[in-house]
Symmetry: C2
Subunit: 146 residues, 2 copies
DNA sequence: TGTTGACTTAAAGTGTACTTTAAGTAATAT
DNA sequence: ATATTACTTAAAGTACACTTTAAGTCAACA
């Protein structure tokens, strides 16, 4: 039996960019920052494989939780260093999560205020809040949001 | 009976900065952007009043929902133009809210992936995930996160 | 009365994350 | 064969939201 070598699909930087929802320049930028390391064809052009898609998407998820490029880079460096750095990586991700949760709570509070204001404008538009009583009620509520 | 003129407290820019959790330079910057318009003492120094605290805090809530400085400025301009611009203001705030909710959902998904990864590291650290079965399970879960 | 600290302005600088440009090579379509 | 399109690099430019600097004024305290 010959070894079954499933030739993996090779993506040009343009096709890969579409696949992960970034631009080619952004991918090159991420590469200079050490986040990705694509392969090269004989003519010097980059190519990416399927596995790289998952990797970039995972990076974008981490980025979406608030990790900066430099934090991502640190994570990548630790990852490349092997399993010995799992504690460091775990600590970093936990810190990111903690920061995220703080932001998440704050942002929910901001939304609450935004909703209050939208409701207030809608009441005002429909003529309800021309009476000073409900305006006072609004102010009271606002006050409690600190 | 003489008119009871409760003299409002006047905040210097430094004290006001502390009160709203910003720096004096940031307050001056916001002023150049048209978000705030403090009063001036005879000697040219700015002073702020209690009502300005609520105003700035409200602006910061809006900012926290994703509004840019220029959107805040637009809001302020409309506000200064009077009640005729309530529809515009309402539309802006609704757009901000809609954008916020999209981001909010995305960010929750990012958190889910982050949590998965943290759990995976913790399992791996405690030696559970050395067996290929649960690693496959992890990969499956990961796959479903797209 | 001097010196410390807070204020004033305008302008330049910073950090983050890209984005764009320039100049050139290579592959594809007509 | 030629024109278009995608790629290559290094470097400069952009957007946003401040932050810092410089040079000077003003008020309060020892």
């Amino acid at each position: 039996m010959p070894t079954e070598t499933t030739t993996e699909r090779q993506y040009s930087i343009g096709d890969f960019a579409k696949a992960v929802g970034l631009t080619a320049p952004t991918l090159r930028y991420y590469e200079t920052e050490g986040l990705i390391e694509p392969h090269r064809l004989a003519n010097g052009r980059r190519y990416y494989e399927e596995a790289d898609i998952n990797w970039v998407k995972f990076l974008l998820h981490l980025k979406g939780t608030g990790m900066s490029i430099s934090e991502l880079k640190q994570y990548v460096v630790w990852r490349a260093a092997g399993d010995d750095t799992i504690p460091e990586r775990l600590e970093l991700l936990k810190k990111v999560k903690a920061d995220f949760l703080v932001q998440f709570n704050e942002v929910q509070h901001h939304l609450q205020i935004l909703n209050d204001k939208i409701n207030w404008y809608e009441e005002k538009e429909s003529g309800i809040t021309d009476d000073p009583e409900s305006f006072r009620a609004y102010l009271d509520r606002f006050g409690h949001h600190e």
